[in-house]
């Protein structure tokens, strides 16, 4: 059961720099490990993260096997207008998770 936690300030002033924090549950299996009978454990990671502010892409990250389980990503942006910030994670085995947060700019 994948879950995502998103932390976006709800009410901000126009032009303010805000921090956006995201956390998603994922095992981030590297593909370099073997099980107890020596069989390789196939890679299973998140490969891409994208954030869009009212449809416009503001942040993108590529993820790799060295990134720990439950990736935590935080970044800053300038609050320009009220609306929705959408988040999208994609990965191996068709992994796809989305989330969104409303923001009010005064």
């Amino acid at each position: 059961m994948a879950r995502a936690l998103i932390n976006v300030p709800q009410k901000v002033k126009s032009g303010q720099v805000i921090e956006i924090k995201t956390l998603i549950s994922h095992i981030m299996e590297t593909g370099f490990r073997h099980d107890n009978v020596g069989k390789p454990i196939p890679r299973n990671i998140i490969t891409t993260f994208v954030a869009r502010y009212n449809g416009e892409e503001i942040f993108r990250a590529d993820l790799f096997p060295a990134i720990a389980a439950n990736p935590f990503l935080s970044f800053h942006t300038v609050a320009t207008e009220s609306g929705t910030i959408e988040f999208e994670w994609t990965g191996d085995n068709g992994f796809h998770e989305t989330g969104s947060a409303k923001i009010t700019v005064e």
């Binding site: 059961m1 879950r3 936690l5 998103i6 932390n7 924090k21 956390l23 549950s25 981030m28 720990a68 389980a69 439950n70 935590f72 935080s74």
Partner: protein
């Protein structure tokens, strides 16, 4: 609790005072060299941490790890807490009952419970920890199969219960029936074992705050369990953490759920009595 640093020196000092009161100078003169002798031996014996010098491992965390524990949306253990809430409300077993059907809102009914476990069980005649209590309830009330130790569901439910006691002080055990089990836990804590021939107390009582392989040796207070350990990339129980140290001493670990582990858990909780529950904690 004794106010002096070392138990053995403390005993000697008390004997000295008693002696001085009753028999006077002659015995004081006799007692004095005894104290010196015991004081010389003291570094070899376990030293209990004075209550006001106890500190949570949280205080030794870096800034980023502290921020992770402090903010629920940055603390990965929140995933387990949320899943625990789901399990709390889910009907299970042939009784088709959920935890909530009997206990209602966990924020009310489970407040403070994790702060007083392990607790004495009448029927079993021994203390049980929170994990075993959950499984006993599943068996007796829900007619459901027990959760496996360290399974996602058991950790989730334990974390959810622990979360209800966050900010509360660890309760002092008042049940006299727990006494021999606390003593057993203390004995295990102070007993040397394994190929390295070490005890828990040698690190966590005598050398806390110093470095072991570059890491600060903590005092080992179970204030945040189950914890999200960055090394594990997962949540883990106190028993898993104990197993970790025991294997590190190259000793044979006890089984999950064994009486030895529960005695150790009980002793550690009493050693940390009055300290604040942080569950779910984050550690490196």
């Amino acid at each position: 609790m004794m106010s002096t640093q070392t138990r053995w020196v403390g005993e000697a000092k008390r004997a000295h005072h008693r002696g001085a009161g009753r028999v006077g100078m002659a015995l004081r003169a006799f007692a004095h060299p005894t104290i010196v002798l015991l004081a010389l031996c003291a570094p070899l014996l376990a030293t209990e941490i004075p209550l006001d010098q106890r500190r949570s491992g949280y205080e030794d965390l870096g800034r980023d790890s502290k921020a992770m524990e402090d903010d629920d949306t940055a603390n990965p253990a929140t995933f387990w807490v949320l899943d625990g809430e789901t399990i709390w409300n889910q009907k299970a077993g042939t009784a088709n009952k959920s935890c909530a059907d009997c206990h209602g809102d966990a924020a009310q009914s489970m407040k403070g419970v994790a702060a007083r476990y392990p607790a004495f069980d009448e029927r079993l005649g021994r203390p049980v920890d929170l994990e075993e209590r959950i499984n006993l309830e599943r068996r007796d009330r829900q007619n459901a199969a027990p959760f496996k130790f360290e399974s996602h569901d058991l950790l989730a439910l334990t974390a959810y219960l622990g979360r209800q006691s966050r900010g509360m002080p660890i309760a002092e055990a008042t049940d006299p029936r727990l006494k021999p089990f606390i003593a057993r836990g203390r004995a295990l804590f102070e007993q040397r074992e394994g190929q390295i021939n070490m005890s828990c107390a040698e690190c966590h009582d005598d050398n806390w705050g110093r470095k072991l392989a570059g890491n600060i040796v903590p005092q080992a207070h179970p204030t945040g369990y189950p914890i999200y350990r960055l090394e594990w990339q997962s949540l883990g129980s106190l028993q898993r953490r104990l197993r970790n140290c025991i294997v590190g001493m190259r000793a044979e670990s006890y089984e999950f759920g064994s009486p030895e582990f529960v005695a150790l858990e009980l002793f550690l909780m009493q050693r940390a009595r009055g300290m604040t529950i942080e569950t779910p904690g984050v550690r490196p």
